[in-house]
């Protein structure tokens, strides 16, 4: 299917091949690692355009190339599958507000969901949480699926300039400057949620302070290594 705008490459163009392959792989990783259930999606920005590609009404674990869709930030259909996901404004509004962001995951992660409805916050207690602030990710308190630009903008406002936002009784939205970084953060947010849950059984854990996180922040991050590992775990599924 040809794109509706001549200045933007099509989903199946060689130009976007690597990006779309990675998008599909990232959805399968989130499924395989137990972060997504039948819902959720990953979005990637089309380089240099006010447009993004995501998956169209299919579970992340079932996604194939013919289920990708390209839209602009106003929700206009540009290419690919006909029906956009209900919550396309999550991607459109965050990409619009955050020019540095390349990829967004929206999941119903069990661990994000649980901390979205607890009075106690999900906070870093492992250096995997170094991408978060010491008091943890904010919670978007709006109720209802993010199906309108208005809600999308509210969500982007709750995210601010952060890496992740929990969504009340719903899940999370996690952003990255690459697909690999988005995957690292989304999987780690789930791990941190689980570890917070385990730790709280024993009383108040000794969370990492802002100063301690800063020490880790000076250290290197390795999103490519995690990506390579997750892909290796997918192999058995794909073969």
């Amino acid at each position: 299917m040809a794109a509706n705008r001549k200045d933007i490459p099509t989903i199946d163009s060689t130009e976007l091949k690597e990006l779309t392959d990675k998008l599909i792989t990232s959805c399968h990783i989130l499924d395989h690692e137990g972060v997504t259930d039948g819902y959720g999606h990953v979005g990637v920005r089309v380089p240099g355009a006010d447009a993004f590609i995501t998956i169209a009404n299919i579970s992340p674990g079932s996604v194939t190339r013919d289920r990708l869709i390209m839209q602009d930030f106003a929700g206009n259909h540009l290419d690919g599958a006909a029906t956009p996901p209900n919550e396309w404004p999550i991607h459109a509004c965050i990409f619009k507000a955050r020019p540095e962001i390349v990829s967004i995951a929206h999941t119903h992660s069990k661990w994000s969901t649980i901390f979205s409805v607890l009075p106690i916050k999900l906070k870093p207690l492992h250096h995997y949480g170094k991408f978060l602030s010491a008091d943890g990710p904010p919670v978007y308190e709006g109720v209802g699926l993010v199906r309108t630009i208005e809600r999308g903008n509210d969500l982007a406002a709750a995210l601010g300039d952060g890496p992740a936002v929990l969504m009340r009784a719903h899940g999370d939205a996690v952003v990255g400057e690459s697909i690999e970084q988005m995957i690292e953060r989304t999987t780690r947010l789930a791990m941190l949620g689980e570890w917070n849950h385990l730790a709280l059984l024993h009383g108040q854990p000794k969370y990492l302070s802002a100063e301690e996180l800063e020490v880790y922040n000076a250290d290197q991050k390795f999103p490519l290594r995690g990506w390579e590992y997750f892909v290796s775990r997918l192999k058995s599924k794909l073969e």
Binding site: H127, L198, L201, P205, V215, Y216, F222, R225, Y229, S232
Partner: protein, 239 residues
């Protein structure tokens, strides 16, 4: 970094063949037993040398014979894949301080990470914990990856003459007189963590006393038996 005066077997020599396979299998075991995620490493001392073999910036679950690196205790590169892991000082500094140690495992084990931020520590509630002090494994209290000899020495100081130390908000470092023993202890440490956590649901375990632990400690452990078992569970992944 001083030039190396390493006089041991070359990286590609047949003398190192067996040790190389052992390190790779040890990494794969920690992955398949659910101890490591995308991070962590296992090392082995080169007999009679101030040098070690470990994996080179690859996930333990993706370890392979062509992803090993040979380093001296100052971090000098002596052969194999590059670059060396960022936290090579964990291995070098502990082996330097502990002539009895021939293998070191560093993991981000969920259970070690958990107890590293709890106030009461990880204490033995099962005879598998006979390699631990009755008061529990010590905790290296500092933030930051162990990327310098200074931090490596501080970690070795925390470990002292023990078998395992937790690393605050990070994971653990576990040592053994052999790779088999280091692996067995690492797996058992995770088991002990899970057990202590489960017992906490019921009000906390009746931990082993000093006297009880000493009785168990009088028994010998059989690291070769679980090693054979773990290898069998690797199936076709083993090298």
């Amino acid at each position: 970094m001083a030039a190396s005066d390493y006089k041991g077997p070359a990286f590609d020599s047949s003398e190192l063949k067996e040790l190389k396979a052992k390190v790779v299998n040890a990494c794969l075991i920690l992955d398949s037993e659910g101890i490591t995620d995308g991070f962590g490493h296992v090392s082995v001392r080169i007999p009679e040398q101030a040098a070690l073999l470990t994996i080179a910036q690859v996930s333990p679950g993706c370890a392979a014979l062509d992803k090993l690196v040979l380093l001296d205790f100052d971090g000098n590169y002596l052969g194999g894949a590059q670059p060396a892991p960022y936290e090579w000082p964990i291995h070098a500094c502990i082996m330097k301080a502990r002539p009895d140690v021939n293998s070191v495992c560093h993991t981000h084990s969920k259970w070690s990470a958990l107890f590293s931020v709890l106030k009461k520590g990880l204490r033995p509630a099962h005879m598998y914990g006979r390699f631990l002090p009755v008061g529990g494994a010590p905790v290296y209290p500092n933030a930051g990856l162990i990327t310098s000899v200074e931090r490596g020495n501080a970690l070795a100081d925390t470990l002292k003459d023990g078998a395992a130390t937790l690393l605050r908000a990070h994971g653990d470092a576990v040592v053994g007189a052999s790779v088999e023993q280091a692996i067995l202890r690492t797996v058992q440490l995770a088991f002990l963590g899970e057990l202590a956590h489960l017992a906490a649901v019921h009000g906390g375990p009746d931990y082993l006393t000093e006297g009880e632990l000493a009785t168990f400690a009088g028994d010998r452990s059989f690291p070769a038996r679980p090693w054979e078992y773990f290898l069998s569970r690797l199936g076709e992944r083993r090298v």
